[in-house]
Amino acid sequence: MTLLLQVQGVTKRFGGLQALTQVTFDLPKGQILGLIGPNGAGKTTLFNTINGVYHPEEGRILFKGQDVTNKMPYHLAKMGMARTHQIVRPLNELTVRENVMVGACFGHENQSLGKAAKIADEVLEFVGILNRADQLAGSLNVAQKKRLEMARALASHPHLLLLDEVLAGLNPSEIDGMIQMVLNIREQGITIIMIEHLMKAVMNVSDRIFVLDYGEQIAEGSPNEIVNHPKVIEAYLGDPKLAEQLMEEE
């Protein structure tokens, strides 16, 4: 089992605020890791630290066996890491196709414009918004923008995909579509870390789950282990019965 990502004792502070404390985990190739925790637990901060937006005060991060602790986001993109944002960041004045082409052109495959346009159309078809390709990205609705974020990340054909709350703000049928898409992406051999608040979804999709609370890891394990973990129930799920219910819903 090859390890794609290794996070070793990562600590991040913002002034007096301890955002991440000694976070450590390994991510084998091909897995989906669910990252959960209450609001403000440091989930997005962990993403930002992994993909180079922030640099940790302590600890190190290895991606494909290489130390990337102090690399910038564009270095990591070039190495094959892609992500979506919790708050979508479309390039509004560019068309949907151009948005996706940016991902393909500047990701680790470094595609030419012509090749990128082809990839863009394939990926847009995969996420189901190919019919919007010539529209300006700013004119899409929220669900479509989420799909666009996904398409941009996928167009780079990444090794590791960081998904930050791709289900938030979607209606139930859109959620089902998005979950299916995540599973399809895994089929392509892409390793995924996903932050998600929707317990049912994250329990269903993830191979393993990692729980953060106040910047500290309080549990790690299979979905089954997590819902029965006393600390998780106390900090996050709140109610053991609710946890049981969640598992039954499967």
Binding site: N51, V53, M72, P73, Y74, A77, K78, A82, R83, H85, R89, P90, L91, N92, E93, L94, T95, E98, M101, V102, G103, C105, F106, G107, H108, S112, L113, A116, D134, Q135, L136, R152, S156
Partner: protein, 323 residues
């Protein structure tokens, strides 16, 4: 037909330049050449500024510093060192490019209003420096010995030649703008303009891309500067670094449509046309700059994308045709 549509984004701009170059010969008036020279110069400068302002999204209030600095360096080589006009023009472009590279490393990490303020500071600092730089003649500047024109067939011939050279530089500026607009490098710049953080996450090396955009936007203004001072026969600090000229360039780019190839050309044309009318009218001649200010305000408030941008936003077919 398919090919024609593909290249229409560069064909229309080049036709505009061809029209301007033929205009004096058609009308046969000497003043017409002067008008066309001013418009071609404005087109070259506005198209260059557009690489930074329109494609990359960085507002420069001091872009004329490259015109002045490159102009000074080239004109110094031409008048004092006796070099040919061609070498001087190249040297002017090169020195502006180097200046932009060094400045870019220093101030392009600033974003938004802070970058804009820094560019004003750079322009004023350069003017103050040149004012006290004895090699470039200090406050009185440099004057070209009239004999220098002999190498180009006398003053009249040299003036005529300058007109065609400015046309060539305008063509160069437009082709450069078009190549960037349709290249992968250009796509990276547009991504930076729309959201620099998102662009970096997608793998755009923003610091490098911005610096090169700045360099590419500075070279042609430097070359134009040398030509302009050669044509005038002298250079002084207040001619080389006029802050209001920077702002006029912004108005041109915004008016025609930032981020498009055709926009700055149209904007330069319309603005110079309007200016030509204003400075000759009794009522407006003293307040023509306030008209520009009002115009900028109207554009920013009501059509921030400019004329071409406004059209592109409304129609997908126009988006494909108007580069």
């Amino acid at each position: 037909m398919k090919n024609f549509q593909k290249y229409i984004g560069i064909i229309i701009p080049l036709l505009v330049i061809a029209g301007l170059l033929l205009y004096p010969a058609i009308t046969g008036k000497a003043a017409a050449r002067e008008t066309a020279f001013t418009i071609l110069k404005a087109i070259a400068l506005a198209s260059s500024l557009n690489i930074l302002l329109g494609y990359t999204g960085y507002v420069s209030f001091g872009h004329i510093v490259f015109f002045g600095f490159g102009g000074y360096v080239g004109f110094y080589l031409l008048s004092t060192q006796g070099m040919s006009l061609w070498i001087s023009i190249l040297a002017g472009g090169l020195s502006s490019g180097i200046l932009a590279f060094l400045l870019g490393k220093a101030i392009l990490r600033l974003r938004g209003a802070y970058f804009a303020l820094a560019t004003i500071g750079v322009n004023e600092a350069m003017r103050a420096f040149i004012n006290n730089f004895d090699l470039f003649g200090g406050p009185t500047g440099i004057t070209l010995n009239f004999k220098a024109y002999l190498a180009y067939g006398g003053a009249a011939k040299a003036l005529e030649m300058s007109f065609y050279v400015v046309g060539a530089l305008a063509v160069l500026a437009i082709i450069l703008s078009y190549i960037i607009r349709t290249s992968k490098f250009g796509l990276g710049l547009l991504a930076i303009r729309e959201n620099e953080d998102a662009a970096e996450v997608m793998g755009v090396f923003a610091p490098d891309a911005k610096t090169w955009a700045y360099v590419l936007s500075a070279i042609i203004p430097g070359m134009i500067g040398v030509l302009f001072f050669f044509k005038n026969g002298n250079v002084e600090p207040h001619d080389a670094f006029p802050l209001h000229a920077s702002i006029e360039l912004l108005v041109m780019v915004m008016l025609g449509g930032q981020g498009t190839v055709l926009g700055p050309i149209l904007g330069a044309f319309a603005y110079q046309g309007m200016r030509g009318y204003l400075v000759t009218s009794d009522f407006f001649k003293d307040i023509q700059l306030s008209v520009s200010g009002a115009l900028l305000l109207i554009i920013v408030l009501f059509i921030p994308a400019g004329a071409i941008g406004w059209l592109r936003q409304r129609n997908a077919i126009l988006r494909r045709v108007l580069a």
